[in-house]
Symmetry: C2
Subunit: 391 residues, 2 copies
């Protein structure tokens, strides 16, 4: 990885301050990452809280050294660091600046700025994968009912080529990831710790499968521990990075319901699966449906797609650069590319049928797509090409 | 029973036309029942549909004879016929004239007029019993979950001195009634047939218990059969006669969901208990919560009481006559009377404690209440006196 000064400064700032800090985000917006780093290291933190954080971290080490080391460790992990300038940066995260929680304390507010950079492990471009994505969140201590429903929704979403995003926790998170994996779909686990130590360890095999066929994502440096407050900070990325969030089971006042409130605050569909009123694991879900006027009751994947598929729900359509290869594609080539399976290969005949394009035309357009580096030809057929950085 | 001309005409009109017919209701409003009967018997029906109904019924017999016979049978049943002039007429039913169902066909509209008269069997004044009442409705083919929840809500309502109103059907209806009975509370079964043949027969023992300690209610003459359309006509009385309706389980497009739409149309709280999305018996409930913006998710009796207990939900407070004995009571006597159990007896000490009144005062006020005929003294303590017509 060719680490630029900008990237190194972003990593150093992430190490020096906790992700999501508004004061840092604003400085970076105004001065850029290197100058912000210089300012903070020179004692120029704009508020006392940030100054205290910086001072405390400086006791632990040198931010520039930590950043260099993080870049090396990231490379060794086969992962990459994505920054706002990159094509695969999810523009959708910009909606976090719209996030004004009703009655939120300043402390909570301070923790909701967009990430400075994101660690990604896996073969797909982050932005593309999140463009058609739904978060599925819920209780760790889920019931058999909740696990069943989450698996079902994860499967159904993946089966319809939607990315399933969750947090990799036990219970509902894991069930949603597994449902997506079972459908051969793409699933993204957004971690609250370094990519090299996905938490919880008990889901290690699951994380390995996700890294192989989907993405592991984090805004913390390799080696970062899954500290308790990080889960809540992480949740905003799950809410902001997706088109909508589905809550399956939650006890009263759980972290998952907080993700839902954030989704609502950003104008994203907040969908809640009800459950038996006799179950403690339904309490949070029902509370949300009773108290959050914008929360929507859903009973399955059909209702979820109804919500996220709606025109107008995508408040921040990803601003695409003008020189992407896909911009040059005609309708047929676009249809073919969009009909490609997210994972694995497909024969030209099958793809043509799926896209509703004559086979002869399909073969011609596939050659074009291959030339543009969007599709690769393999023994078993055609496959989507890995993102530019991963070839 | 001293059957007046007015009452006989109302019974004859109920026999001659189906309850709920708006054209008949309007004629009665304008001309009174005897003149309306004369008009219809003289061939003066204001529309063809009503004329056809009248002609068909006249083939089956003579309305005045049918009315006389009904009065006799009613007496023999130990039941009574309540008309709008009576003190125990539930004024709340007048809200049916506010019932404009969105998109309702004229046919449906025609069937929603208030009843001309109501058959009642049981020891309590109908209006008093309905004044603090909640309808609990739902599927006949309920699941164990639904039966559990309905029983629980029925018990909880009765335990807090609310009347539980339902339709006496298998499943949720029966569970709600049973819950109320188990709490020693008052429950009202609104039938879609004559009081002498409560339907379904399989609930005969339940109906007997209800008649003993609560009320059986119908707007059909003794002997009337439980014809299919009558259940939907009956449902409007359940919705209009109560402060709010709770739906526990319902399949898609069920009769119970129709009761809920009617409750909403009258501005009454329409409360829905969610369930597992994996159950077909949850479909109607979740549909209602998704489609009916005014439907409210409730998970138990506390939520139900929150809804029906709200100031302002009672759109038509029962207009009380000026010369009721209760109007003369002071605060302490009122508290004591309202603290009486709906059923059974209570000792003066226990009642005083319940009402928060010194025992000596309680004894004095109880003597007054006894004198006014509001309370009776029995071996085991004090009990509410049966209604005036039932002594």
């Amino acid at each position: 990885m060719n680490a630029t000064e900008d990237l190194l400064a972003r990593v150093a700032l992430t190490w020096l301050t906790e992700p999501g800090t508004w004061s840092v985000h604003r400085l970076v917006d105004r001065l850029g990452p290197p100058a912000t780093l210089d300012l903070l290291l020179g004692g120029g933190a704009p508020d006392e809280r940030l100054a205290a954080t910086v001072a405390a971290r400086l006791h632990a080490g040198d931010p520039r050294a930590a950043a260099s080391e993080a870049v090396t460790r990231t490379d060794r992990l086969g992962a990459r660091i994505v920054t706002p300038g990159d094509e695969e940066w999810p523009v959708r995260l910009g909606d976090l600046s719209r996030l004004v929680l009703p009655g939120a304390s300043r402390k909570v507010d301070l923790e909701t700025a967009p990430p400075l950079c994101i660690w990604v492990r896996g073969g797909w471009p982050l932005a593309d994968v999140l463009d058609r994505s739904v978060a599925v969140v819920g209780a760790r201590a889920a019931t058999g009912y909740g696990l069943h429903v989450a698996t079902d929704i994860g499967y159904g979403l993946a089966d319809r080529d939607w990315t399933v995003v969750s947090g990799g926790a036990f219970g509902i998170d894991a069930a949603a990831h597994r449902g997506a994996l079972n459908a051969g779909g793409v699933t993204v686990s957004v971690l609250a710790c370094g990519l090299d130590r996905p938490y919880p360890m008990g889901n290690a095999a699951l994380f390995d499968r996700i890294a192989e066929t989907g993405l592991l994502v984090s805004e913390w440096l390799p080696g970062a521990e899954p500290l308790r407050p990080r889960f809540l900070i992480r949740n905003r990325v799950i809410a902001a990075g997706t088109r909508g969030s589905v809550l399956v089971e939650a006890a009263a006042r759980s972290g998952a319901t907080q993700t839902m409130h954030r989704a609502v605050a950003m104008g994203r569909p907040a969908m809640v699966v009800p459950g038996p009123v006799t179950s403690a694991m339904s309490v949070g879900a029902h509370e949300l449906l009773r108290e959050q006027r914008d929360a929507r009751l859903v009973t399955g994947v059909a209702h979820v797609l109804e919500e996220v598929g709606r025109i107008g729900t995508d408040l921040a359509p990803p601003a695409r650069g003008p020189d992407r290869p896909t911009d040059t594609l005609d309708d047929e080539a676009t249809m073919l590319r969009e009909s490609m399976p997210r994972r694995g290969t497909i024969g030209a005949d099958a793809l043509a049928a799926r896209a509703g394009v004559p086979v002869r035309t399909a073969l011609r357009k596939l050659a074009l797509l291959e030339e543009l580096g969007l599709v690769t030809r393999r023994d078993a057929g055609y496959a989507l090409a890995p993102p530019p950085g991963q070839r």
